[in-house]
Symmetry: C2
DNA sequence: CGGGCAATTGAAATACATCAAGGCGTGTGG
DNA sequence: CCACACGCCTTGATGTATTTCAATTGCCCG
């Protein structure tokens, strides 16, 4: 028996299973999670159905856009996992400067570090309307020890998370503004594609330029200028909260090269 | 029984224990690790002596300054832990730009992510002469499952590591050159102090300005200018590979404030 | 209809990079 | 032991990417 969950689960199967586990709510949100190979939710759903038990204690919450999901001063026993919508994880300085550490998409756990201790200073905020689950840390940890599959899943996410953090540092420290912005776009496109949230080369794009600025360590004004250049060069097109990659090859060059 | 190892171990005790476990080598290096509360080495030493077993398979290596400890293309089964000396962990772009992710001091594990999978692209390089241990990943993982104390230790280190990564991103994305440099100095001082490697307010400082530049996302030239200012302002003093913090209060202000 | 957030654009300021030259210490080979 | 080369640091002049400031427009929402 393989100890790592392979992405054999189709969205339909996951939907059916979800309906079995929790027939009170009709959202397809966590089916999307379950379809995502690396997701924590996937592992949890699987373990729950296999054992014939219900999911570990978790509560579902829905918040409107711009609402705080996790407060920086919160010293919480809970691990939040995004079910639907876009949100943003960041840390800030007292004077208002802030750095976005990640855009969170459906299926993302805020950070695996939350499993092992509270991560104070982290702010998680909804960009669109968001639904998310809160798992109790102790429940998840117990599950982790019982279930090697889940442990493997978490380990994978852990390594992924570390790689992302490394790349973020490299981007912020050593790349130009255009590179950083191009990379954010490509990165988001890739992650959305994994979730079946790309429509050809176009994606819903609820981010404000302020978000991109805070993620790339730049100013909203400068982000506007670079995005303007990208559009004039016909690399991308942005209109009515959606973004289309017109010339992926050129965009990749802008992202990778000096 | 508390599941978290407290720093009750004195350096002397650790030395004695070390001698018991491995009488063939006289270095005090890992005694320092054992004295450090958060260290992986500490947990390992404890478990080894408690069970009356020997340490898990690990090999000790010594390399001269500037030598590579872990190659970016290496897809290794081993987890390196620094025993003595300074080294540096970084990632680089094909065109030569590089970002230092951490300065590694005695007792530091390169990254907890190494426990769960190879982290390709990471380069670890000795700054001074360095001795380090290589643990086999599978051994460590086995130990992790047997031994909740070790698991707790690793969890703690992981959370620490995540916090460090967050702060690095904030520094690189949102702080000025002076702030970044001042913070690096204070951070190193604090970590050295934990290891008993501070001599009052002065520390051995084997780093080249190129290292500081690559850690802060700046140019060696600019680092030189800022360090010059700090010295002229009598915040610090650097001479013959050692650095003294003269005015800690002011240095903290330079580090925290705009 | 009004108010406020978001985006765009241009002009001016600035932080940092690049370029270039010189000095200083250190190891090395003649 | 000297000469020399080389890496490292410093310093100044110049260049440039990005910020800051400011004005204008559009737009969503109350």
């Amino acid at each position: 028996m393989a100890s790592v969950t392979q992405p054999q689960v189709t969205v339909d199967e996951a939907l059916a299973r979800k309906a079995h586990v929790d027939p009170t709510r009709g959202e397809a949100s966590c089916a999307v999670c379950a379809a995502w190979e690396l997701s924590l939710s996937a592992a949890l759903e699987n373990s729950a159905s296999e054992g014939g038990r219900t999911l570990p204690i978790s509560t579902v919450h829905t918040v409107p856009a711009r609402r705080t999901i996790f407060h920086p001063k919160e010293w919480s026993e809970f691990v939040p996992v995004i079910c639907s919508g876009w949100s943003v994880s960041s840390i800030a300085l007292p004077d208002g400067r802030r750095q976005i550490l990640a855009f969170l998409l459906p299926g993302d756990v805020v950070s695996t570090a939350f499993l092992f201790g509270p991560l104070s200073g982290r702010h998680v905020e909804a960009v669109t309307e968001v639904t998310y689950r809160k798992f109790k840390r102790s429940d998840l940890r117990a599950l982790l020890f019982e279930n090697p599959e889940i442990f493997d899943s978490i380990s994978k996410i852990w390594v992924e998370e570390r790689i992302q953090a490394d790349q973020l540092a490299l981007d912020l420290g050593r790349r130009t503004a255009s590179e950083r912005i191009a990379r954010q776009i490509l990165n988001l496109a890739e992650r959305l594609a994994k979730r079946g949230m790309m429509n050809g080369q176009t994606m819903e794009f609820p981010l404000r330029q302020r978000h991109i600025a805070d993620a790339t360590g730049l100013t909203p004004v400068h982000v506007s200028k670079v995005l303007g250049e990208f559009q004039r060069a016909r690399l991308i097109e942005i209109s009515s909260r959606s973004l289309t990659i017109i010339n992926e090859a050129e965009l990749r060059i802008a992202a990778d090269w000096r």
